[in-house]
């Protein structure tokens, strides 16, 4: 899952690949803004065919948070 999120961040949002680690903070370390974060959620919804509540947006601080959440709803 981490690799798939990483690929989305690199390909769709133009984030530098070397920066993407599970503990990297989306806003502070990867420099993505609130709208791009919303984009990431949309891309995850499309790719994994899931629905993510908007409230979750505020809970995604690190790349790992997104990975963990997606893994939890896939089960």
């Amino acid at each position: 899952m981490f690799e798939e999120i990483k690929a989305l961040l690199v390909k769709e949002l133009g984030v530098e690949e070397s920066l993407i680690k599970p503990e990297a903070e989306l806003v502070t370390d990867l420099g993505i803004n609130s709208l791009e974060l919303a984009d990431l959620v949309m891309l995850c919804e499309d790719k994994f065919d899931v629905e993510i509540e908007e409230e979750k947006l505020h809970e995604f601080i690190t790349v790992g948070d997104v990975v963990n959440y997606l893994e939890s709803i896939e089960k």
Binding site: L19, V27, L30, N33, S34, L35, A38, M42, E54, L57
Partner: protein, 566 residues
Amino acid sequence: MKKNGEHVVFGMTSLYDGIVQQAERYGDKPRYIYKVNKQEKTFSFRDMKDHVDVIAAGLASLDMAGKFVGVTGETHPDYVAAYLATVSAGGVIVPLDKDILNEQFVGFCKRCDIAVLFYTRAMHQKMLDTASELPDVKYFIGFDLPEDAEMPERFMRFEAFFEIGKKAYEDGVRPAETTEQDPEKLCTILFTSGTTGTSKGVMLNQRNLVTSALDSCHIMATNDKDFFVSVLPIHHAYEFTCAQLALPNCGATTYINDSIKNTMRNFVKVKPRSLVLVPLYIETMHKRIWAEIEKKGKTEQVKAAIKVSNGLRKVGVDLRRVFFKDILAAFGGEIRYIVCGGAPLRPELIDEFEAFGISIFEGYGITECAPLVSANPMHWRKHRSAGQTVEHMEARIDKADPEDSTGEIVVRGDAVMMGYYKNPEATAEVFTEDGWFRTGDIGYIDDDNFIFITGRKKNIILLSNGKNVFPEELEEYLNASESVCEGVVIGRKNEETGEIAITALVYPNGEKFAGMTNEEIYPIIKDEITEINKKLPAFKHITELELRDEEFEKTTSRKIMRYKLK
């Protein structure tokens, strides 16, 4: 009715008059398309008139007509209906930011003696949490609340309230129809950003709102064939006046963006012809466009196409909608123009969007002017300009010294506020002796009457030698650097010498400096500042640099809270 070039602008004498006329003109055409529990619903122009009539009757039957009424939440047709009904029944509506902290929310409600609060479903918990601190609020009325929602005393579902209103209306209680719509009477209070203590309540009347809405209709070539996607917070004067009041008056249908994550999907679905946005959206859209182009390996191809297309346009051949079809498809394919306000936009973005076939028109507004002051006309745009004043506003530059090239922009006209609520001192400060409103912005007006803003008066750094420095000018240089993610310039007093040091506060670009410490980054940015200083007169030189580990704290409209920086 007034013809402005190719489109018609319909007049209105009051907000209620506008609603009545729109219901007659557009009838069952959808005014809004919105979602409740993922179900798409429509709300027609006639529905709006009916809801305004019934809500006004409901307020009257609860003895709440003419009172101060709060409204908070995301955009919803009944948010707008409650707003218009309150005003039409002679009351004062206070739209409150849905994202402010509870303490500030309570503070604003108390300051305005709010008697009724309308709110959207997402705000229910906030209302429950604050109700005990708001004993003077007689009714909390929630739209589309879930069936199992907790409903303590004073809480009411909008549906139940609507039934009360409907019965009263049928019994002949019709305050919206019978109340005299006095254009000079206070009808809304909008809080400016800041803390509870520093935020000011801008008092507007119907003359202000109607003027600004009609001036918006004039500058936007919107008509009843148009679809529009509403994405900005509704409590802002910019979104409320320029989108929620103006666009329906032209007959456009508004699709309410149900979630920030669905923005791009909704663009594709709704195919808007125009959008009302702030720079953050345009910056993000720009990044997405290029990321998409790069993903497809077409960067060089698109750059070449831009050159060819720009060349062809010079000889009168416009093939942008063919060349850049795929790019435009991401916005639904019909997009023609974007109105951008709230903060200045980088001119390069205006050029690039234009190259793709999307015209961006920058405007200038402030809450105190309901908000529209000026805009770049459709036929004549100037880069970096806030445009020409709209029909009912005038602007003048008040210079401290006649030799100065810039001065404070002062304005007057029918959209200028009545004053600040319960704050005569602050009101007196912002009006000149001859009655013009001081915007607090510094700039100049060129020979074609285009306004250019060069800085904010309250941000000016006053040096000990008496010279003024506009931090915005220095920030423009600073933020153009790839090393800088966010940069702010402030004046900091050196306690030992008493001198004011021009200081750059920089949040470095994490991507560029990956794995580097601040000690390593510091000399690199310092060298860049030395280069910037070479372009500036000595008194404007940035002498101090401080690196930050976090981005700057921002308001809910994403502006840096400059007043918090020391």
